[in-house]
Amino acid sequence: MDTAKKEHQLIVSVSPHIKSEETTSRIMWSVNAALLPATVMGAYFFGPRAVFILVISIIASVLSEYIFQKSLNRKVSVNDGSAFLTGLLLGMNLPPSVPFYIPIIGSFVAVVITKQLFGGLGFNVFNPALIGRAFLLISFPKLMTIWKEPTAAFIQFDAKTTATPLGILKEEGVAKLMEVFGDNISLYTQLFVGHRAGSIGETSSIALLIGAAFLLYRGYISWHIPVSFLGTAALIAWIFGTKGALFTGDPIVHLFSGGMLLGAFFMATDYVTCPSVKKGQILFGIGCGFLTMLIRLKGGYPEGVMFAILIMNCFSPIIDRGFKTKVFGAKKETKESKK
């Protein structure tokens, strides 16, 4: 067939006719790229061990997906980057001192039980990385709560153990937190840069914000969930943050500590497990923020982001149902039409 003829050929195809460059794998790899700054900062603060944990976690995730799909004769979809993302997020959510078998167990639970058993990407009800972490926290509570002090020198092998800012806040109150970090300004800068104890990827607020800005700019995440999530949490922290006195809490400490930013921008916004209607997403974000602060201020755990997102994941099918958009031209069901 000559080219001139081919150019004038009319293409007949069924709908949809939308053409877009965006594919699942492109979005997934972009999110991976957006997490890069936070990963680098984590590696810088927590040293080679943290890098090993991240690598093991990623390899274990990708391998479990590959083996599962191969053994069930399914199409192997490890190239779309979702298993890589799960592994990376799980690794970033682990303390830098865990033994190396921990990320392997977590990756298996995350990829096989939470994602593949439900039918693969697109059907999972819960965020895989968070279920992996919740499973590890409950199965190995001691190992999962040993926090290392950041060293800021890449090669330093004996790091001190210490408590996370939220742990201090929970156990000993604001006064102790100020004592550890000096004054307000130094506390905020340390939280902002990420020089604090915590999970590998959650400490550096600035790096996470850079990644989030990239995702927002590209339109891969919308503002609805992060804004409602962080807004609700900040409001509650401001009103109820200090015991015994209203409206005197410090929202900045709560927003920039723990996994708040990582959760709000990278995990609550997971396309599959959050509601797909915008109004529903706002409700989802408010729920996440409320539950996070409820657990932080009143609950048994110092950090509540993970459980808050998981609990709201349970509700997202119901939220989607409640905000179902009206089908064009559909009539409201009346008693007569039902009969």
């Binding site: 039980i113 058993l117 039918g119 693969g120 819960f126 919740a134 409950i138 048994g300 998981l310 349970c314």
Partner: protein, 197 residues
Amino acid sequence: MSSEFTKLFELIVSASLINNFVFTRFLGLCIFFGVSKKMETAAGMSITFTAVMMISAAFSWVIFNYVMVPLDITFLKIIVFIGVVAGIVQASDTIMRKVAPGLYYKLGIYLALISTNCIILAVPLVNAGEHYNFIESLAFGFGSGIGFALALVIMASIREKIELADVPAPFRGLPMAFVITGLIALAFTGFSGLITL
């Protein structure tokens, strides 16, 4: 006065979320898995269950405190409570057949199964064991009912969502429901330590 209200509120929240019977004590699973396939039956069952729960909590409290304690036959409480619950379920069965026949046929065998549900027996037993007063017993029954309703509705929405999913053949249906329940229970452990009664 306000502290009493706080106590009641805490009882309801604790029974429905923190110590949710399905997700933290794994009781009442037969009905839970039986009727959570469709949202419609799940919602119907939730309402019936909560109502039956409160009525049976009230009746068994009266019988326990005014008949069994004076006669010193509290060791018979399991048998007596089963009898009370069975009677109430039979009554609600008859009422529902007249009032909502459609729902009655959808719930089918599970309505009768309420009488052998673990939660509905556990609530009077906990009430008796913790020496709750009448209002507290009602609140505990209400909270447990709401908790069970919440579990049913969540479960039904998730099961309807994954109905079309490509679940591996050995896991289709009930096994997947167990996996989902486990994962929800994992999420609900976040509530632990919130209220200690």
